[in-house]
């Protein structure tokens, strides 16, 4: 955190300019973005839940092997990318530039692995005939909710990988501060957090009965 924030945060309450949260404005901005984005995802998830509750024969098309195992591997990639991210932030606070950039690259590789696996899964489903408004299992809206929810999340992961790339480049060249790395970390962890809800709701609740 920048020194001026510390100074402001410990200033006199009546002297003006007290920072009630004792964090930088970038970090507060990212937190507020996360609040609004979490509501976006909440509404998307609720729409999915609404449609599913209101539809008597919602398809449950994912066999445990391979679909669920495949999705579990994707979850593992994203969870692990959160750990490499948190290690990057810790290294950035210690001003270890090279180590920070390497951890950020590891995070980007794991995020990209998630994306590649996800795109593979999408193309398999599209080959099976799942489209936003039609699919082989009845209930046309199944495809719409599936692609809508996972697509929105994929967009976030894609933007996250690009964002981390920019941060890694800038921090490596001493253009960005450790706070910038921390703020990008908040975003990345949020994307991971959203998947913690999408994975059970989309995949684990739709296991094909054996």
């Amino acid at each position: 955190m920048a020194d001026h924030v510390e100074a402001v945060a410990t200033g006199s309450r009546w002297g003006g300019g007290v920072a009630p949260y004792a964090i930088g404005s970038k970090k507060l901005g990212m937190w507020l973005f996360i609040v609004s984005d979490s509501l976006t995802f909440s509404v998307l998830i609720l729409v999915y839940a609404y449609l599913r509750l209101a539809t008597p024969d919602w398809p449950t098309p994912f066999p445990f092997s391979p679909s669920i195992i495949f999705a579990s591997v994707m979850t593992f990639c994203l969870l692990s990318s959160s750990v490499t991210m948190v290690l990057a932030v810790a290294a950035a606070h210690r001003q270890e530039h090279l180590r920070t950039v390497l951890w950020l690259l590891a995070t980007m590789i794991l995020g990209s692995a998630f994306l590649v696996l996800h795109v593979t899964e999408w193309s398999h489903l599209i080959h099976e005939g799942v489209k936003p408004f039609e699919n082989p299992w009845g209930t046309p809206l199944f495809g719409g909710t599936f692609f809508g929810l996972t697509g929105m999340h994929m967009l976030h992961v894609t933007i996250g990988v690009i964002y981390l790339g920019i941060i890694a480049f800038g921090f490596g060249r001493r253009k960005f501060s450790s706070e910038d790395v921390e703020v990008s970390g908040l975003y990345w962890h949020f994307v991971d957090l959203v998947w913690m809800f999408l994975f059970p709701l989309i995949y684990l609740m739709s296991v094909k009965p054996s």
Binding site: S42, V43, A54, P56, S82, A90, D192, L193, L204
Partner: protein
């Protein structure tokens, strides 16, 4: 972060512990999907586990536990309140649709 704050963060050992817990809880979720419980029980258990996982991520990975309480009190109750409002206004209607059989 100041130097004194850095110590309170627990270091990479803590992060690896949290990671281990997250993986373990995910494994429990996948196991639940494998044994295939009734849908209502399954949904309750999965959402309970997911909320725990989300709390772990927010508290440790996103450092909210080490920030001022005022930040937590601003962010978390507002999100929870908004989600509850959405739930209250939308969900009864989906159950009504089910009863009408208009799905």
């Amino acid at each position: 972060m100041s130097a004194s704050n850095e110590h309170a963060h627990g270091g990479s050992k803590l992060y690896l512990w949290v990671w281990g817990w997250l993986l373990a809880l995910t494994a429990v979720e996948v196991f639940l999907a494998y044994i295939q419980l009734p849908a209502n029980l399954m949904l309750t258990l999965l959402m309970g586990l997911s909320v725990i996982k989300a709390a772990l991520i927010v508290a440790y990975f996103m450092h909210l536990r080490f920030e001022r309480l005022s930040l937590f009190l601003t962010l978390v109750p507002s999100v929870v309140l908004c989600i509850c409002l959405i739930l209250i206004f939308f969900f009864p209607d989906s159950l009504r649709m089910q009863q009408l059989g208009t799905g």
